[in-house]
Structures are given as C-alpha cells and as structure tokens.
Amino acid sequence: MDPRSNDRRGVDWDDRVSVSALENLDGKVVVVTGATRGVGLGIARYLAGRGARLVVSARGAEGLAALSAELDDRGAAYVARTADAGDRDANFALVAAAVQEFGTVDGVVANAVTSNPPVPVEELTEADLDVPFDASVKGTVWLMQAAFPVMRDQGRGRVVTFGSNAALNGVPTYAAYSAAKEAIRAITRTAAAEWGRHGITVNSICPVSVRHHTPGLDDPEALARFERGFSKQPVPRDGRLEEDIAPVVGFLLSDASAYVTGQTLMADGGRIMLR
C-alpha cells in the first residue's frame, strides 16, 4: 500500500520534511483545562516554553491570577478564564476565546478533573458516580465538541484526554473515578475513529506524578517512604511534571503525532507496560 495514497488533508507530504521540525509547537493554539495545579500546570508551563499560545482555565480565580503572572513573566501569549470542568457553556467559551484571540484552535488538553474520596463499591451513591462523570467525562466531551467545528474546517486538530493507572489496574475504592477514566478512554477511541477523516487525532495519556498532591513530604521519613514506593518500577522515581509528563502531551499536540490516534500513551516510569 502506497503510503502516499491516502487522504492528504492537513499533512505535509514532502518526505524531505525535517523530522525534528515535526515536533515544533511554536505558535500552536492550545486550550488547557485545570491549568493551575499539578499536571495541568506542568503542561501549561511546558507549552509556554515551546512557544505555544494558550487558553488556560481553572475553577479558581486565584490560581489563574498566579498562573497569569507567571505567563506574563515568560512573555507567553495567553488567555486565562475561570471554568468549571463539567460546565458545557464554560468549555465552549474557552474555545471561543481561543478563536477570538488567536484566530483558531490547534489542540485541546482535557485535563480538568475533580478528586473523589475513596468509596468501596458497595457504598457508592449516585452522587459519588455523578461527580467524576459530570466533571471529567462530560467535561472532556464538551471541550472536544467545542473544538470540533474549528478543527474539522481546518482539516487538522489534536485532542488529548486523560486516563489513569488506577483505572487500568482496578484499584480498590476508586470505582467511580476509574469508571470515568475508562469512559474517557472509550470516548477517545470512538472519536478517533469518527474524526480521523477530518485530520483530527484523539489520544489519551496516563500520567503518574503524585508528589504535588501528596501531603507531609517535608518530613524526611515520610519523603523516604514516598520515594521507596517507586524503587521497584523501571524508572525508579515519581514523574516530574514538566520533564516527564508534559513532553508526552507536547508530542501528541505536534505534527509529529499526525498518525497516532485512538491510542493510550503511558507516562508513568514504566509502571504499566500496556499492550
């Protein structure tokens, strides 16, 4: 099968194209939800450093103000908006802001999520299930829907969604959260199959970087215990947000990943070797 024989929309066909240049993110317009903490913050910083133009969101205005100050210092081009993860109108407004400010949207990173208290399956309430489904499943879908018309019309787009190692493993007391994460991976594959014809790729990432939300690590003993927890995995440490997690997201947002779709990428130090 001649690799040149397929649909050419949105892809540079010149085989002399520089392979390194394919990863260029300079000027790419990317929406990042939940951008003021943890993984989202690491992604926002990384993308800003690579010259991307950002629309960043979070629930709280304070966090956004701090992020804005940082992005100003870097001279990054960005728009900051408050948004609840599962709010349909808010997600659509983020994409509208991208189009208004920057003229388009190239990628969306559906990172925003709410945390869930651990609950054994036999005690799950409707509310326990609603929280992660409303915030992260629906939130992911709303963000994708908002970006779709723009991406379809330009024949190119990138969607990055978030799965979870806990969901892949089946960790006790995480049923509601895990169900939402696996739902997201299913939506990812479905959307990938539907939107491929428009040059839109849809992929999931399963990141492991937990230091930022693990309390009590000032205590040297607690820190030592924390670090020991990673000693048995292939890369024997916790993931670092900007160095380990964000670059994988960067790859998925770039032209280099034009033929990667419907996939789940692991950024977990090799804890789970999927497939």
Partner: protein, 191 residues
C-alpha cells in the same frame, strides 16, 4: 556535529535504510533503534507447510537477532545510559494468519524489550517500542493484515514513523520506558 541515531536493521531492508535516512539529521548520542523483521522472516505461508529450517529462520533467528541487538546496545549504552527503540509491526497485537513464526518472534521481542526496560531502567537505559503497519515495514507481506480496520486518519508516512522514534529518543522523555506507541493512523486501537 550531530551524532546520528544508530539504526540496526537486519536483512538490508529498504525500510531500515529509509528510516536511517530520515533520522540522519537528528542529533541523538546514546540512542539505538532496532528494526525487527525483514522480507525473509515475513514470508506469508501456512505453518504446516514450513520446513523446520524455515521456522528457525523466521522465528528463532529473528528473536535471536533482537536479543543480540539489545545486548549490543546495552554494552554500548551502559556506562552513561541511553535510549533504545524497537520498531516492529502492529500485526503482533491482533495476530496475522500465515505469518505465525514472524509474529511469534515479534511478540517475543516486545516482551523482551519490556523486560529489558525493567532490568535496565535503574541504569538509565530506556527501552520503548514503536509499532507500524506491516505493509510499511515489509511491503511484500501487506496482504496478511488485510482484515484490520482501515486507518481512521490515513496510513503513516515514513517521516511520521521517524518522528515517533525521535519522540522516544529525545532526552526530554525521561519518564517513558517499556511503552508501546502505535503509529498506524488509527487502525489498531487496542483497549
């Protein structure tokens, strides 16, 4: 001055040569790419029609070559660490009729690569796999995976396969090892 990625491709395959060319500009010391498979190994035909010698050439030899390549890479990269990428066909995940010995070897090589990732991670050597359509790797075997869904976005070009390899050899990707990246335009979407 660039240190190009070292591409090891047995059987003088045209894919290996093309990949080497595509990667020539990339500066990546301490990186080895091993292409698993060649036309001989991926000869299509029923298992029960093989001679024992053919089984050995298509299964045994391919696996032993992969082992030798990994060991060579380990020897080369050991003191300072580095990055190894195995390139193999996606056909190993769904299986492929009339390619039994080759797929046996490919899936063995993938498990070997994951084991290498586990054993060599602490030494700073990452081992990852990029899976590509069989027809890109071995054009003569294209028919064997005709049962797969057509790719959602289109068949990948060599440049994009090379870009995926680069993604794994890029020193910024410290935290990724034992991973498998499918670059096939969205045909195989394993859960």
């Amino acid at each position: 001055m660039t240190t190009p990625v070292r591409v090891v491709a047995p059987g003088a395959s045209s894919f290996g040569t093309a990949l080497r060319d595509a990667l020539a500009e990339v500066d990546a010391p301490g990186c080895v790419v091993y292409v698993c498979g060649d036309e001989d190994a991926a000869t299509v035909g029923p298992l029960d029609a093989l001679t024992p010698d053919e089984w050995d050439r298509r299964a045994e030899r391919v696996l032993r070559d992969a082992l030798a390549a990994l060991r060579d890479a380990h020897r080369e990269l050991s003191p300072r660490g580095g990055r190894i990428v195995l390139v193999a066909p996606t056909a190993g995940i769904p299986g492929a009729p009339e390619l039994v010995p080759f797929v046996t070897a490919v899936e063995g090589a993938r498990a070997m690569a994951k084991s290498a990732a586990r054993q060599w991670g602490a030494a700073g050597i990452a081992v990852n796999t990029v899976l590509v359509p069989l027809e890109l790797l071995v054009p003569s075997a294209a028919g064997a995976t005709s049962f797969l869904s057509p790719p959602a976005i289109g068949a990948p070009t060599l440049a994009h396969v090379a870009a995926a390899v680069v993604a794994f050899v890029d020193p910024s990707r410290h935290g990724v090892t034992g991973a498998t990246l499918v670059v096939d335009g969205g045909s195989v979407m394993a859960p």
